[in-house]
Amino acid sequence: MEKNERALQQGDGSSENLVIRDQSARSIETELSLRLERVASAIHSLDEAQHVTQDNLQLEVSV
């Protein structure tokens, strides 16, 4: 994996020691493959949050 670390000048002119990593296609593929499952899981969780059931609608807010 090729890794170049560079200190960059920010768009707003302020200097930050921010490191942007150049990555080879191979390492990007590996990294993304590793992330795929947790991205899918997070999105599934968010899909469920948007699914309002009849049971949800009947919840009584009465305190």
């Binding site: 768009g11 302020s14 942007i20 990007i28 009465s62």
Partner: protein, 509 residues
Amino acid sequence: MATAAFRVLPFTHAVLCDAIANEYISTEILATADKIKYLSDYLLAVNAKSMIIELDYVDGDYLDDFSNYYVKCFKSYQRKCKRLHFFSMDLTAEHVSALVAEPARGEDIEKLQSAYLGFLVARPLPNAVIGRTVLKTYPSDSGRRNYPCTKPYKANLFGIELSVNSLVFQEQDNVLAACATVALWCSFHKTADIFGTAVPSPAQITSFANQVVNHARPIPSHGLNIQQICNAIRSVGLDAEVIVVNNGVPVPSLAYAHLKCGLPVILIATVEGIGLHAITLTGYSINPAAVTACEVDPKSHCIPMAGLRINEFYGHDDQIGPFCRVIVKPSTASGSKTYPVVFESSWKDQKTGKPLTLFPEMIVVPVYHKIRVTFVDVQKWLTKLDALLSVFLKGVAALEWDVHLTTVNEYKKHLRASTTSHASRNDLLLTSLPKYMWHATLRAGSADLFECMVDATDMTESAPFQFILWHNEALKQNFHQALIEPTLKAVLDATLTPRFAEILRKQTA
């Protein structure tokens, strides 16, 4: 000293109780009531020193409740209230009489205005004596405390016009308005300010809520279910955005995303051992750095968002008081359910005095019908995008997505005020944009890296990214190289979706 129309008194807890007391509820009982204690503490914290009591005050909201219920009781309830005005300066009856009598006292009126802390309507009832209440918020504490859901309220005191920025509050009465009704009523005051929609009285809200779904008699009101809350929101011409809280929903960031543009958020939470309760969130405390590592169940994945910097919200809780602290606590399991975060406020166990936990169950936000793409929709797209961006930002500390709803006018105001020299600035100012947009910015510490605007009026399936601004050229180049790399097409399509990958390719070209 007193006149027939008003009294002027120094502010103390005992004096407040005495001023609120009526023929049905004594000063002694009020002195031990948690709600009155909360109000006293709040007013002392904002430096209340004196109060003027309007002794014969006609309150429109109470009058509506009165005509709907109390006038039809056998007992003769009074139709007029008292209104208590609070000031952070010492006042005497002579001083107030002089202000009323002499028209040209500009400097004194200015002093009175700058010391004005708001008002409380004391209703002549056996319970729920705290009627319409409008109180000044706590100071911002160097920008930490934010109250975007406030608006200017005017109070005319014997011809002297006073104003205060706040959001109206009242206690629930369990006759015409239970907690959900009051939470809606508070919210509608602010949505009227934003969208120009109606502000029905609590009695009207309860009536609207029961027009479609009516399981039991609507009045006396013992509560509303979620369907009825949605009906009430629809009755004022808005749509109800309902989010079911599960372990992967970042509740603090979700609330922040709406609150920042002034939209009140109704938190439906189970109060430990008691039941479901509604609180209108009106503000938040945001810190310079993250105060927690996680705003969801640690077993779930969530992109780092501004909610990590929020340690508490400020909510109108009709069982506690206005702008009460709703403190964010870490993810907790209860029974079979794991909550992303839980909350603590002034709810306490009556026997032990131990704070009770509030478990968030649902979030309801009254929104304009053209705001169709939701925070959760945007979060899903950003989760995909973040998967690729974070490859190039591995090891960068303090990464944060700031996501919030905005309007084209607010965004252009923000652009004009910004010192950025971004080449697109002037083009954007001159470009026609959607009325409602989600503004998402990826930051590393104080440095903006990436910014995008999502058209909230479009449809989420179309990946409605209106435009993207890159604030870091190296990040943009790395990102673009990855997007056009043929060997990555399959994994990029799987991560981003083919359509989104294509949009990003064009936006980074």
